[in-house]
Amino acid sequence: MPDKRREYALNAVLALGLLLVPLWAYWAGSPFTITVFTRIAIFALAAVGLNIALGLGGMVSFGHAVYFGVGGYVAGIAAQHAFNGETFLGIAGANQMLIIWPVAMIAAGLLAAVIGAFSLRTSGIFFIMITLAFAQMVYYFAISWPTYGGEDGLPIYVRNTFPGLNTMRPWNLFILCWCLLMLAIGAFALIRASRFGAALMAIRQNPDRVAAVGISPFGIKLAAFVISAMITGLAGALMADLSRFASPAAMAWTMSGELIVIIILGGTGRLFGPVAGAAVLVGFEVIFGGMTEHWRLWLGLVLLLTVLFARGGIVTLIAGRERLG
């Protein structure tokens, strides 16, 4: 039982810390700090999405960056058409976040339905390689298709808007991202506690037994995969708006690796694992990236030692092995 209380406390610290530090930065007038924390919140949101597929369902998707990238392109393409008045397959552009977010989620979800339908026919090492290959396919398509920037990506000249908020101000954008992150974590908790989540976790442990009691593993896994991609796609749309740039680099395979790293560093399947992992990864980049250009070498070493000797990630280190819920 003390384990549970420690995890509740840790979760509260992470949720409030992520809110209070930027709030302090807002008063102290440090927009850079707010932007760093916005990045943490967005990466955490993307990883919460992947955590549904990977943490709950045991599906090691090495291509989740593609949904992150597609979300970004939805924001970029919508903004470009809203800007120049042209249409995308007859659909007018939009610069309203409340329109762009659902469209980004739907686009990522549809892509995940197609990719998942192929790759979920396999499992294990095949699944890892195939999700990677499909992500790479979309990546190469994006960089060789000249209409939307190709290799150069797509700039967003004016950040998309949210009713009642000036999204050009760092704090306003941050608070939007923080709220969406908390909503997604809430959704993750609901899914984990639901019958659907129970079936999903049972499939991770033993798909044959689940099939034997009359539940088809394929449908459950595909549904979880699509939900997972939709959340990651939403994060991608936010990231494009933060950097005011829809980049093909957002769907490069290294990004898929980083999303997995965030989850493992934080703690696989843990509610606030993605937040802890994203804070460590972004913090590492900001702190060590300022000291040495070879910070990736140190990140690699830390990661390697974590995998070899400290399994379970930060949340497990502090709150113990038992999962909540």
């Binding site: 990977l54 090691v60 090495f62 192929f118 790759s119 026919r121 396999t122 294990g124 090492i125 095949f126 890892i128 390689m129 195939i130 990677l132 290959a133 499909f134 790479q136 396919m137 979309v138 190469y140 398509f141 960089i143 060789s144 298709w145 000249p146 209409t147 395979w253 690796g257 997995i260 790293v261 493992i264 696989t268 070879h294 990736r296 070498l297 990140l299 690699g300 070493l301 990661l303 390697l304 995998v307 070899l308 399994r311």
Partner: protein, 305 residues
């Protein structure tokens, strides 16, 4: 478009496919024998290319460079196996992905520190410069040599696996590792040898390709991902599958990039045709992979473990 041009592109595809085979053979061998997914295989390709370019630059001799590249990759492979991989054989694939992802970060930055941030260039050896007349078309001698070398290595590998004691042990290790350990084979040493062999093949591929492209950090990963496509098509663990998959991917990718823009030009205006053709060509091999997965989910030559 002439038959000569088509033939030349086909040879280019063959050459690309054979280099992919050198990469895929090591990957599929390591997976078949040790059950390990190694993302850092592309880094071994890069190490081979860098050491070859640096040694050839120092000594002025391409062949010394080639030997240095292979030796460096094999040594790096053996070192990685002994220090890291050995701890991963019993872990799940997620841990393997993560640890080898970390190795990519370490090896890429390490290469940058050792050789500097700028690309290196490797000259084609004097013996293999110039072109040779193949009847239909003149063809660069070096690329022809790559094809011959690729076929030679493939034959050598086939003999090694099929005809030698080491090959017997490797095949036995694929089937039942506990049993061959019980029969007195030093399984740890065998794993190190297999890993170093795969690394040497990747290093050889990197060194050979280094003379026709620039040698730079990050050159290994695109090849690695294509090698994944190859072994998914061929069947994971199957050397024969890797050969068939590599040739399919090499030829289809090269021919697609050459032919598709011209096909699109028949019904689109030229500027749009080249863009659409290039975009479709870049995803062609992945579509092939998806198609093969639908028909044969375990690849063309499934290995029954």
């Amino acid at each position: 478009m002439t038959a000569a041009l088509l033939f030349e592109q086909f040879l280019n595809g063959l050459q690309f496919g054979l280099m992919l085979f050198l990469m895929s053979a090591g990957l599929t061998l390591v997976f078949g024998v040790m059950g390990l997914i190694n993302l850092a295989h592309g880094s071994l390709f890069m190490i081979g290319a860098f050491f070859c370019a640096a040694a050839a630059g120092l000594t002025g001799n391409f062949w010394l460079g080639l030997a240095a590249g292979m030796a460096a990759a094999a040594a790096a492979g053996a070192l990685i196996e002994v220090t890291v991989m050995r701890r991963l054989y019993t872990r799940d694939h997620l841990d393997q992905v993560l640890a080898t992802f970390a190795l990519i970060l370490i090896l890429s930055e390490g290469t940058k520190i050792l050789f500097g941030p700028f690309p290196l260039y490797l000259d084609v050896p004097p013996l293999l410069t110039g072109t040779v007349d193949l009847g239909l078309t003149p063809y660069p001698l070096y690329r022809l040599a790559l094809i011959v070398a690729g076929i030679g290595v493939a034959l050598g590998l086939w003999l090694l696996i099929g005809r030698t004691r080491l090959g017997i042990r490797i095949r036995a290790g694929e089937n039942d590792r506990e049993m061959i350990a019980a029969l007195g084979v030093n399984i740890r040493a065998l794993y190190t040898v297999v890993f170093a062999l795969g690394a040497a093949l990747a290093g050889l591929a990197g060194a050979l390709v280094g003379a026709v492209q620039s040698v730079q950090v990050g050159m290994g990963e695109p090849v690695l991902i294509l090698a994944f496509v190859v072994i998914v098509i061929g069947g994971i663990g199957s050397i024969r599958g890797a050969m068939v998959g590599a040739l399919l991917v090499g030829v289809i990718d090269t021919m697609g990039r050459f032919l598709l823009p011209q096909v699109f030009a028949l019904f689109l205006d030229p500027s749009k045709a080249s863009g659409a053709g290039a975009a479709l060509a870049s995803i062609l091999v992945y579509l092939l992979m998806a198609l093969i997965l639908v028909i044969r989910p375990k690849g063309l030559f499934p290995v029954h473990a």
